[in-house]
Amino acid sequence: MDNLDYLKLELERSLLLLDSDAAEAIIKKSMMAGDTYSVTGDLISATLGHIGDLWEKGNLSLSQVYMSGMICEKIIENTIPPHVVLKPGQPRMAIGVYEDYHMLGKRIIYAVLKASGYELIDLGGGLSDDDLIGVVNREKIEVLLLSVLMLPSALHIRNLKNKLGNSGLKLVVGGAPFRIDSELWKEVGADFCGKDAAEALEIITKISGNS
């Protein structure tokens, strides 16, 4: 795509202004000029990643990250056939909220990964150990992304990890306690911790070998 940096800036501006029509126009225009993977990866995913970075640095707010992800998810649903956008060779992935119902973080990561061409099962919220062990086995999940809001839930992940055993499953965690205590993810035995959407995307890209 020509003018990629310009398009990213324009898309970011539209998303932060919540102008979904303008964002959709930029994406459609890019689709005509480039291939689908470039649009989802180099444009949408990179833009959402940059918005996540700006939040991490304190220059944007969580609501802006969330609304940007939602807008992109809807545009992709409306403009790109599902089979065209998927990245090849990706692991079987699922995402959910462990033990409570605060869905925001999960929705942001889900939207950003979907917008970047990844397919993942949305397990919803209020998930128990039994729910997760069942779904991991039944769906042969290789990467499990878990979001938590409360410290006790984060600490319970250690027990869940033990119950899941050494199946080769990669456990990626995120949520407020992990942002405030940077050592916590290691303490609970997670394989990766994504502090924001940009980091989650980076981790999944690395695990999938789709750099």
């Binding site: 605060h102 006790p152 407020a176």
Partner: protein
């Protein structure tokens, strides 16, 4: 020269007027730890006002901190609206599925009569009993969730963001219900004997919403509510940052602000000056792993940055210390504030 020892009330009162008391006041935001003191489960503990009163008094005796904290748990308020609460063995009771399934359900939300709610009565009774037993010598900190932040438990964060951005009519309707509840709830606590009210407003933090959006929403709501609360208010962003909105916070009528561990106390002190007192900002989550050395270092550093001149209360950065923080760390915090917090503050 060491100053004459003061009561917690005298100490807090002087520091809030930006003068130096005998030593830096300590606010240990202990809620669930009272259950451990009494050998009860967290659910049993919060089932009776008398348990919370006994727990608070025992902990104040043990650590010698300067506040009593009759706060039960955040979800208490949505429980009063009819929401489900999920109890945990090792954490605060949490709100379950959001009370409202959809934005369209806002019209079905019934206002809560604060004085007739059995759920809220427990906390009011705890405040009354604490006041009675301590005869006013130790400040009692009441607590409300701001009308602007309560919808996170009423609707869920995601739907609430969409409401703020795309449906101002329903947003205003919900704020009308919540503002009336918040003011009534705060004033009922003050009437029961609370000395001040913590106004928990995490959604207003720039970590969560942009400054411009705060200016037209959370800021206006805080200003309206705080003006109607008949007592002193301390605003708490529950670990969220506040520096980018400092100018507006100073206009809300709050007298103090609970600050995040993610912002520098020295910068906060410089920004708020003598206009607002600072409360914070020990990292409650990391506190689980602290030893005596890290505890003393953290307390000393906070005191050196924020305590000179008064206007500073040493506390955690969230308004609730995790259940997993061990008693030994809390004892160390209490010892460290006595060692480093004597006025005049020196780097010794």
């Amino acid at each position: 020269m060491k100053r004459q020892a003061m009561t917690p009330k005298e100490r807090v009162s002087l520091t809030l007027s930006h003068q130096e008391p005998d030593r830096v006041p300590l606010m240990l935001s202990l809620t669930m730890h009272g259950a451990r003191e009494l050998g009860l489960s967290i659910q049993e503990y919060f089932s009776k006002a008398e348990h919370v009163v006994e727990g608070q008094l025992r902990m104040q005796q043990k650590y010698g901190h300067d506040f009593l904290n009759p706060f039960f748990y955040s979800a208490l308020e949505v429980e009063a609206f009819g929401a489900e609460v999920i109890y945990s063995e090792d954490g605060p009771p949490n709100s379950g599925r959001p009370l409202l399934n959809d934005i369209s359900d806002i019209g079905k939300l019934h206002p809560v009569d604060v004085r007739k709610s059995g759920v809220l009565y427990k906390m009011l009774r705890a405040i009354e009993l604490l006041k009675e037993k301590t005869k006013g010598a130790i400040p009692i900190m009441g607590s409300v969730t701001s009308p602007f932040s309560l919808p996170v438990m009423q609707l869920g964060f995601d739907k609430y963001f969409e409401l703020i951005h795309f449906n101002r009519k329903c947003f205003d309707q919900l704020m009308g219900i919540n503002e009336s509840f918040c003011v009534d709830w705060a004033n009922a606590q003050l009437s029961a004997g609370a000395d001040a009210i913590g106004y928990a407003d995490p959604v207003s933090s720039p970590t969560i919403i942009p400054r411009e959006l705060y200016a037209e929403t959370g800021f206006q709501i805080a200003r309206r509510c705080i003006s109607k609360i008949r007592g002193n208010v301390a605003t708490n962003f529950a670990s969220g940052k506040c520096l980018p909105i400092a100018g507006m916070i100073m206009q809300t009528g709050t007298m103090a602000v609970v600050v995040s561990a993610q912002e520098d106390l020295a910068e906060l002190k410089k920004t708020f000056g003598k206009k607002l007192a600072l409360v914070g900002n020990l990292n409650g989550l990391e506190m689980r792993r602290w030893n005596t050395e890290t505890t003393f270092h953290s307390v000393k550093e906070a005191i050196l940055k924020a305590a000179p001149g008064g206007g500073y209360i040493l506390s955690d950065n969230h308004g609730e210390i995790p259940f997993q923080v061990p008693e030994a760390v809390l004892m160390d915090v209490a010892a460290a504030v006595k060692r480093y917090g004597q006025y005049p503050i020196t780097n010794q």
